[in-house]
């Protein structure tokens, strides 16, 4: 019996490794072939450039060292790093050790994996000693990660994450195999060390201990077989489990560096992103829907459902597209755009034609002002903007003062891409006809679509927070600083969506005292009012809003300032904090100053 085992025990590993290799190669080839022609050209153009080296660096820092997870939580980062980087080093150093021992590179692949089964010479040589001690140290390193992983299932809180993902059966098999690999390796090597004295500090100690109470010879082959089987099982389960992210993530890193990007339709690059998800669950904690007890629509579950082809509209559309998860994703998956792509796929049949849109004439002006429908529902903002335009003497045209089509972004968020194009084209023509050099939007939702989906060459597109800052710098409007302490709420579409964090803060610096807070810039909250979610209930939105307000109240600000009419409108429901738009702050300051000047003039007049 033992003879059969000793002859064939490497087979589970070898078969598993070959199976895994073939599957991964087939998938990679299919994915790359499936990319659009332009993406393939991008790959060819970039593969022999510095970008490949950059990709390798990123693959090491993210795929092995897990730098981004370290940033979220160091214990969680250590767990991932010890497993990935530790295992990687075990393979590499094990291989070098085998080369050193064999004096050749020509040996069966499995030999370095089961080195201590085959090589029994007791240590003595300094370099051989160094190898065995190093290998033990690395094994200990990996085992520490394995034990942290066990413990994470019991108590995930100490890893900085409140929640962890639910597992499906493929994952459970792979996870059990993975959890067994290193303890079994420790036992197998210790058994061998107990018998042959070929271990390092760890395996030798454990081997001697065991050997002093049991006879290890009859069991040692079984132990190595178990180790081999755990590896084999893991490799075979891997392609159908979440661990497929390990090879896929590397591919993603390279393709991303080469400039491959997501399209409006689901393609193999979307698929690569889907398979790159490790289901670490960090996105669950980022998601504010959790505050409203919505627990099964988060990005990790969307990606999982795409993989299993079980995505429902209920999951797909119950998302604010706030982008907090995308910001926290350690793999850098484009979670928002991926979800929008799915929405495009899901709503393909019912796009509206918008045939009734009429083409109305544009007015000639230097600046086009587009308030947006949300600003029409928060008229204090548009009134402030009109005041400031007039104050600064700008030749502007209020494009949607009476009527204009929607900017198209809400339809985009819904996946109604073709319908949105009709609105975009109608607005675009009028903007160009106006002959303006600048387009100012008051709503970040409009701003994002103007920036990304309107082709407006030679026209500068600005959100009003940028534009007002510009006016201050050009000394078109004055500033003075009252003692108001305020908190600035970053709107999702302007902050994470368009990367505009500094301009509003700089502008507010001229007019207020800005309180720095913890949840700001890319860590900022969503107000809960997002148009992107059509499944959420009003009372659930309220919970999301309240969680943000309660956080802001801790800083005891005089006002909450935002630069998005939708955020303002959503927050207006709260009864404790006054909410203003950044344009109102500027306008009020100008008006106050104006009355101050008038008073001074009156004093001067009466004195004279």
């Amino acid at each position: 019996m033992n003879e059969i085992i000793s002859q064939y025990f490497t087979w589970p590993f070898t078969i598993g490794a070959i199976y895994l290799g073939i599957i991964v190669i087939i998938r990679f080839v299919r994915w790359v072939i499936g990319l659009s022609k332009i993406d393939k050209i991008r790959i060819l153009k970039n593969v022999f450039t510095i970008k490949t080296w950059d990709s390798i660096k990123e693959a090491v820092s993210e795929g092995l060292l897990h730098r981004k997870i370290f940033k979220t939580n160091s214990l969680l980062g250590y767990m991932h790093m010890s497993l990935a980087f530790g295992w990687f080093l075990l393979i590499i150093i094990g291989h070098i050790e085998t080369i050193y021992h064999e004096g050749t590179m020509a040996f069966p692949f499995y030999k370095s994996i089961f080195f201590r089964y085959f090589v029994h010479e007791s240590t003595g040589n300094f370099i051989a000693n160094l190898f065995s001690e190093t290998m033990d140290l690395l094994l200990l390193f990996v085992l520490s990660g394995v034990f942290l992983a066990y413990y994470k299932r019991i108590n995930s809180r100490i890893y900085g994450i409140k929640r962890t993902t639910k597992l499906k059966s493929g994952d459970k098999i792979a996870l059990s195999a993975l959890w067994l690999i290193f303890p079994l390796r420790l036992l197998a090597e210790s058994f061998s060390a107990g018998i042959h004295n070929n271990g390092g500090f760890l395996t030798q100690l454990l081997g001697n201990l065991l050997y002093s109470s049991f006879s290890l010879e009859p069991a040692v082959d079984y132990m190595w077989l178990a180790y081999s089987m755990s590896l084999g099982f893991f490799f075979i389960a891997l392609p159908n489990s979440r661990y497929m992210h390990i090879p896929t993530e590397i591919l993603l890193i390279f393709l991303r560096k080469y400039g491959v990007n997501l399209k409006k339709r689901f393609n193999t690059y979307s698929q690569i992103q889907v398979f790159s998800c490790s289901r670490c669950g960090i996105c669950l904690d980022s998601c504010q829907l959790m505050n409203a007890e919505i627990k099964n629509t988060q990005s990790v579950y969307v990606l999982k459902s795409i993989r299993n082809k079980s995505l429902t509209d209920e999951t797909l559309f119950n998302c604010l597209l706030c982008g907090r998860c995308q910001n926290d994703c350690p793999v850098g998956i484009e979670l928002n755009d991926l979800r929008i792509t799915q929405r495009i796929e899901s709503t393909f049949e019912y796009n509206s034609s918008y045939e009734y849109l009429e083409h109305t004439k544009a007015e000639k002006a230097d600046v086009v002002y587009f308030a947006g429908c949300m600003t029409h529902l928060t008229p204090a903002i548009k009134k402030s903007m009109q005041y400031i335009f007039n104050y600064a003497g700008i030749n502007y045209w209020f494009m949607d003062e009476d009527k204009a089509p929607c900017c198209g972004r809400p339809l985009m968020q819904m996946g109604q891409y073709d319908a949105a194009q009709k609105l975009i084209e109608n607005n675009r023509q009028r903007i160009i006809e106006s002959g303006a050099h600048t387009l100012v939007a008051s709503c970040p939702i409009c701003y994002k679509v103007f920036k990304e989906d309107y082709s407006l060459p030679h026209i500068k597109i600005m959100h009003h927070s940028e534009y007002l800052l510009d006016l201050v710098y050009k000394t078109k409007i004055p500033y003075f600083k009252p003692a108001n302490r305020i908190i600035y709420h970053d709107p999702c579409e302007l902050g994470r969506g368009s990367n505009i964090y500094e301009q509003p803060r700089e502008l507010l610096g001229f007019y207020t005292q800005l309180i720095p807070i913890q949840a700001e810039k890319d860590r900022s909250y969503c107000c809960g009012g997002s148009l992107a979610n059509i499944k959420i209930q009003m009372h659930e939105r309220e919970k999301i809003m309240n969680s943000a307000i309660n956080e802001y109240l801790k800083y005891e600000p005089d006002f909450l300032v935002t630069s998005c009419p939708l955020c303002k409108k959503t927050f207006a429901k709260n009864r404790e904090l006054i909410v203003k738009d950044i344009a109102e702050i500027v306008c009020e300051s100008l008006q106050n100053q104006y009355t101050e000047l008038q008073k001074q003039n009156e004093v001067l007049l009466t004195q004279s």
Binding site: T378, P379, K383, M538, A572, K573
Partner: protein, 342 residues
């Protein structure tokens, strides 16, 4: 002698205190404002019979001028604690009152129309609330818009801050519909040439004679009723207001310029009710009003023994209903004190 503390000197608090005083109890009424009367003093004439509010005020004045109960003004209650079988009411800086029973009559607050920003209150000059209009009516028959014009076209907007999920209030304030009809008639009487429109979701003429008032408004006063919610308002250069809505009966969108917009603001549970309710550990309903233990059989009993609810702290009510409710609160207090052994 048993001692009762009433919190709030609006019509509910005064009426309940007076009834209990007449029964022979010692009553102390604590009011946070400088004078008694509460929200009622904001109105001019009462529906459905256009009774001048002065008559109600005089009635109330006769009650608290009778000195049958003690009145402490300018003092805010900040704590209610149970001390064995008594209740200790702390108010102001150092006032402490020991009571056998407490009546909460903290009333309501008018919905802050600024929270419904798309209607432009305090942004556009010629948008006012129904409370502002009552105040104008009180001050005589010279009705002009805030920008100084005699209005030729007036729009009354119903359900501002009521039946509106987006402003956080699901409930119907029930009195605004009839108030709108009343004010529309009053405006027509003062300005017979003005065109008057009422934009409503549906009309809830729940009380006796309310329906008659509504019919009268259409037949004799030529008020136009449009079933449709205001979507947004915008200010024109001449300070008139452009309103956009949909006439849901004809199915057409409406866009019209009016000289004056009147927002029918609803009733909300106010800050005082919230604060008193929280410090005395009373139950609230989902609309933030105080919750009686039984909506039919014990409407005045709060979730805490010995603490009773009178008037609009538990739901929107008209003047008539508030007075009824306050008297029934007095009876409940009496029953409670009779049955308790102390």
């Amino acid at each position: 002698m048993k001692h009762i503390v009433t919190i709030g000197g609006g019509i509910a608090g005064i009426e309940a205190s007076d009834v209990l005083a007449e029964m022979g109890y010692k009553v102390t009424l604590v009011e946070k404002e400088k004078s008694l009367g509460g929200n009622v003093s904001k109105w001019s004439y009462l529906f459905p019979n256009m009774r001048p509010i002065g008559e109600i005020e005089d009635y109330m004045k006769s009650k608290y001028d009778s000195n049958r109960f003690t009145v402490i003004k300018n003092t805010e209650v900040n704590q209610i604690k149970r001390k064995k079988d008594k209740l200790e009411v702390s108010a102001g800086d150092e006032l402490k009152l020991i009571a056998d029973s407490v009546i909460v009559a903290t009333g309501f607050e008018v919905f802050d129309a600024k929270r419904k920003e798309e209607y432009g209150y305090k942004i556009y000059d010629n948008v006012i609330t129904s409370v502002d209009l009552e105040n104008m009516l009180k001050n005589g028959k010279n009705i002009t818009t805030p920008t100084g014009k005699i209005p030729k076209k007036i729009a009354f907007i119903h359900c501002v801050g009521s039946r509106d999920e987006k402003s956080g209030n699901h409930y119907c304030s029930k009195l605004c519909c009839v108030t709108s009809v009343k004010q529309a008639i009053e405006m027509n009487e003062i300005l017979p040439d003005a065109e008057i429109y009422c934009l409503y979701i549906d009309l809830r003429m729940y009380g006796l004679e309310f329906e008659e008032l509504y019919l009268k408004a259409q037949k004799q006063h030529n008020i136009q009723f449009i079933r449709g919610k205001l979507s947004e308002a915008a200010e024109n250069m001449d300070k008139t207001i452009l309103i956009k809505a949909e006439d849901t009966l004809s199915g057409y969108p409406i866009k019209m310029n009016v000289d004056l917009v009147v927002l029918l603001v609803g009733m909300e549970s106010g800050k005082n009710t919230q604060q008193i309710g929280k410090c005395a550990n009373l139950s609230f309903n989902s609309n933030r009003f105080l919750q009686p233990v039984d909506p039919h059989l014990a409407r005045n009993n709060s979730s805490q023994a010995g603490i009773f609810l009178a008037g609009t702290c538990s739901s929107p009510m008209s003047v008539k209903e508030t007075l009824d409710n306050a008297r029934s609160a007095a009876v409940e207090v009496h029953k409670y004190l009779m049955n308790s052994d102390h």
